[in-house]
């Protein structure tokens, strides 16, 4: 995986019609979530404007081996609209917080998308045939004059240009008082959970007017509030297990078989704080921004502000591995607090074989860590490096001392360019990187033969 990565499909600007290098974008164009489907054939992105864009991978062409695997726009639709809660006098943002694909069971694809308050189930289906030969309607759909109808015919299905239809099938609303931060589909493919700051609800995909509350950490007196839920996920294989992370840096594994209300955890994963690193901002940087089960279900990957940690489900007292993502920011926490960057929530991802983990950083950098060889690489998602079939060059941030050519100093990092959302293809070495309003898709060409 740490071989140079070639760019097959360079930056797909998700919404602007003419992707000029310095074109300004609106805030609505900022990508807020990225997710591959279970086969990797489809890739969905959500943005702050409430839109979802789905990309589809072109089928491989045997005659031209290098043109295979490109992702093109498949469908675009408006998932959520801005709403106003009149009771609380609050505006509800339309920003898509998370998208999760359902495993495919028939020709159609289903995905869940959520904003701060409402989860929606969308059906994405193709239509490539249409009926022709109606008795009462003509080709344009106008009613025929009955006197001209002399014989009856059976309408037949004729091929047409491919049309992708997206329709909302379920709307799961009014179940969350606080902002929804995560959704996760259970391995039983029938239920899913939605988590907000203080509660986690369990839904059935077919039932919209009811949900079960399975975790509630709201204190009786809100003044006693000390932590909130930051992310939650179901175990990939065990339908009774779920994990949720907190702002205090702890992970809680809950077993739904133990009790109806899983406030009491089965396992608590917590690393004791290092007293030498204590500062004003220790609590903020220990807050977990993302948690992901490994594909095997054995490990957990968590991301806090400065590190990514791999936990073994069988070991609760400390993480298995700790990876420093950008430790050079530790001395700059105060300025990062001032400009609000310290509150950025970075996501993390596993590769298909759970051997490499990936997460984003600033200056449009993203990092990959190989767990087996302990090597890591820093790459940049930028227009300059995204020419088709260009190889990404490893970058380096120098923290004083010897500075090599092309190194970037910590002070010249652009903190407005942050990579918060990344996704890894479930089986192949294809990654999707969201850099503000641009989506970059990179592929590892050299390993193509090995992984197939």
């Amino acid at each position: 995986m740490l071989n140079p990565i070639q760019v097959l499909c360079s930056d797909i600007t998700s919404l602007s019609l003419e992707p000029e290098p310095f074109a300004s974008y609106t805030e609505a164009d900022i990508i807020s979530t990225v997710e591959f489907s279970h086969t990797g054939e489809l890739l969905a992105t959500g943005d702050k404007g409430g839109r979802v864009v789905i990309f589809q991978r072109e089928p491989e062409c045997k005659t031209e081996p290098y043109s295979q695997g490109e992702y093109n726009v498949y469908s675009t639709f408006q998932s959520h609209e801005p709403e106003f809660d009149y009771l609380k006098s609050l505006e509800i943002e339309e920003k898509i917080n998370k998208i999760r694909w359902l495993p495919q069971q028939n020709a159609a694809h289903f995905l869940l998308s959520t904003n701060d308050k409402t989860v929606k189930l969308w059906k994405v289906s193709e239509r490539d045939k249409r009926p022709e030969g109606y008795n009462l309607k003509d080709e344009e759909g106008r009613m025929k004059d009955l006197s001209t109808v002399t014989s009856l015919q059976v309408p037949v299905l004729k091929p047409m240009d491919l049309m992708v239809e997206v329709s909302p099938r379920r709307v799961f609303a009014n179940a969350h008082t606080y902002h929804v931060n995560s959704i996760s589909i259970n391995s039983d493919h029938e239920t899913y959970m939605s988590a907000d700051d203080l509660r986690i609800n369990l839904w059935h995909l077919g039932i919209t007017d009811r949900s079960f509350n399975i975790v509630d950490i709201k204190p009786v007196n809100m003044e006693d509030l000390t932590e909130v839920i930051t992310a939650a996920e179901f175990h990939p294989h065990h339908c009774n297990l779920l994990v949720y992370s907190s702002s205090k840096g702890t992970l809680r594994l809950c077993d739904m078989r133990e009790a109806a209300l899983c406030d009491k955890h089965s396992k608590l994963f917590e690393e004791p704080e290092d007293p030498s690193n204590r500062s004003f901002f220790s609590e903020i940087i220990s807050s977990v921004s993302d948690v992901k089960f490994s594909h095997s279900g054995r490990y957990l990957l968590t991301r806090d502000y400065l590190t990514a940690k791999v936990w073994d489900l069988n070991m609760e007292n400390k993480p298995l591995e700790i990876y420093q993502v950008h430790d050079y920011l530790r001395s700059k926490l105060c300025s990062l607090y001032e400009n609000d960057c310290i509150f950025d929530k970075f996501e993390c991802a596993w590769n298909g074989s759970d051997s490499v983990i990936m997460t984003g950083a600033y200056n449009n950098f993203f990092r990959m860590f190989d767990r087996n060889t302990n090597r890591d690489v820093t790459l940049e998602a930028s227009r300059e490096s995204s020419k088709p079939r260009a190889v990404l060059k490893p970058r380096r941030v120098c923290q004083g001392g010897k500075r090599r050519k092309d190194d970037i100093s910590v002070d010249s990092l652009d903190f407005t360019k942050k990579i918060l959302h990344t996704a890894w293809h479930p089986t192949e070495n294809i990654i999707a990187i969201a850099a503000t309003n641009n989506l970059y898709i990179f592929q590892d060409k050299l390993n193509q033969e090995m992984h197939g």
Binding site: L87, L90, H179, F280, F281, Y337, E338
Partner: protein
């Protein structure tokens, strides 16, 4: 000294963030505000710890500074106050009641007591003592003395760390009992101290007595909301963490008053209609605090 400046700056930034979060689109983000309030609490702790170190040193060196710098009348008040305070440190009620006497009378026993606690015991008690000590600063009318003491404390904050590290000779048991009484008696001003820096209060007093009497008005309203909460929490002897969080959030409540309780209750569903007009009072309060910061930072530079 540097920590105090830094802590102060972080406190003001945090308050600004909390205020701005109320006007952000999408409603108040609970997670971010919780983190900001934790930072505010940490900064406040550091600030108060440094301040108290300065206070105890100033009490010891007050005589040297006062001789030849201040009027005899002030000297008469200070000197007997400091000598009388030592035997009185054993008494609980006397410390609290002595509001008529100069500040140092209350401060010196309290500061000595705090020394033992600053070395690492209940932070909660420390905060309470500081609140009580400073409330006397606030309520007394002897503002020149207050300013004098505070100026002295400004000077000696550089060696405050030495003060904190010294082992305290005073009885720790009495020290822990004292704050409760101080807290009970000085409850009306406690919450003001919890969100304002202690040292600039001298300047605050002078400024206030000069022109800003009207700005005082919004604050007493909020104090009444909070004081019963603080008292009840202390009396119930809850865990240290819970008290810290309570006082922390309570301090935020004092800044924004009813509109902040809207911050909490809005999460549950009820938004007070007064939020719009309270935002102005929130702004006033923020500005007020920030105004008070400037003369203090000027004082730091001067000394």
């Amino acid at each position: 000294m540097e920590y105090k400046v830094e802590a102060h700056r972080i406190m003001s930034i945090s308050l600004g963030k909390i205020y701005n979060s109320r006007v952000q689109r999408g409603g108040i983000k609970l997670h971010k505000n919780l983190l900001v309030s934790l930072v505010l609490r940490s900064a406040r702790q550091v600030y108060l710890r440094d301040y108290y170190g300065g206070i105890c040193l100033s009490a010891q060196q007050a005589r040297e500074w006062c001789e030849g710098e201040y009027m005899d009348s002030e000297q008469d008040k200070l000197v007997p106050g400091s000598t009388e305070s030592l035997p009185e440190s054993d008494g609980q009620s006397e410390v609290a009641v002595d509001k008529g006497e100069p500040i140092n009378v209350v401060e010196s026993p309290a500061s000595l007591d705090v020394e033992s606690q600053a070395s690492g015991e209940q932070e909660h008690a420390e905060n309470v003592i500081l609140d009580s000590g400073c409330s006397d600063l606030k309520t007394t009318e002897e503002s020149p003395e207050a300013s004098a003491t505070c100026e002295v404390s400004n000077v000696v904050t550089t060696i405050s760390s030495n003060c904190i590290s010294d082992p305290s000779p005073s009885n720790p048991k009495e020290a822990t009992e004292t704050p409760t009484d101080c807290q009970t008696d000085d409850s009306e001003s406690v919450e003001e101290n919890s969100h304002k820096p202690k040292v600039p209060r001298a300047y605050t007093n002078r400024k206030r007595s000069a022109d800003d009497s009207e700005l005082k008005d919004p604050l007493p309203k909020r104090t009444k909301v909070i004081s019963p909460l603080l008292i009840s929490k202390n009396d119930e002897n809850k865990g240290e963490t819970e008290e810290m969080d309570t006082s922390n959030v309570s301090s935020l409540i004092t800044i924004f008053g009813s509109s902040f309780s809207g911050l909490l209750s809005s999460e549950d569903g009820a938004q007070p209609d007064s939020e719009v007009e309270d935002s102005d009072s929130g702004q006033i309060c923020c500005d007020q605090m920030l105004k008070n910061l400037n003369p203090w930072s000027t004082a730091i530079v001067a000394f």
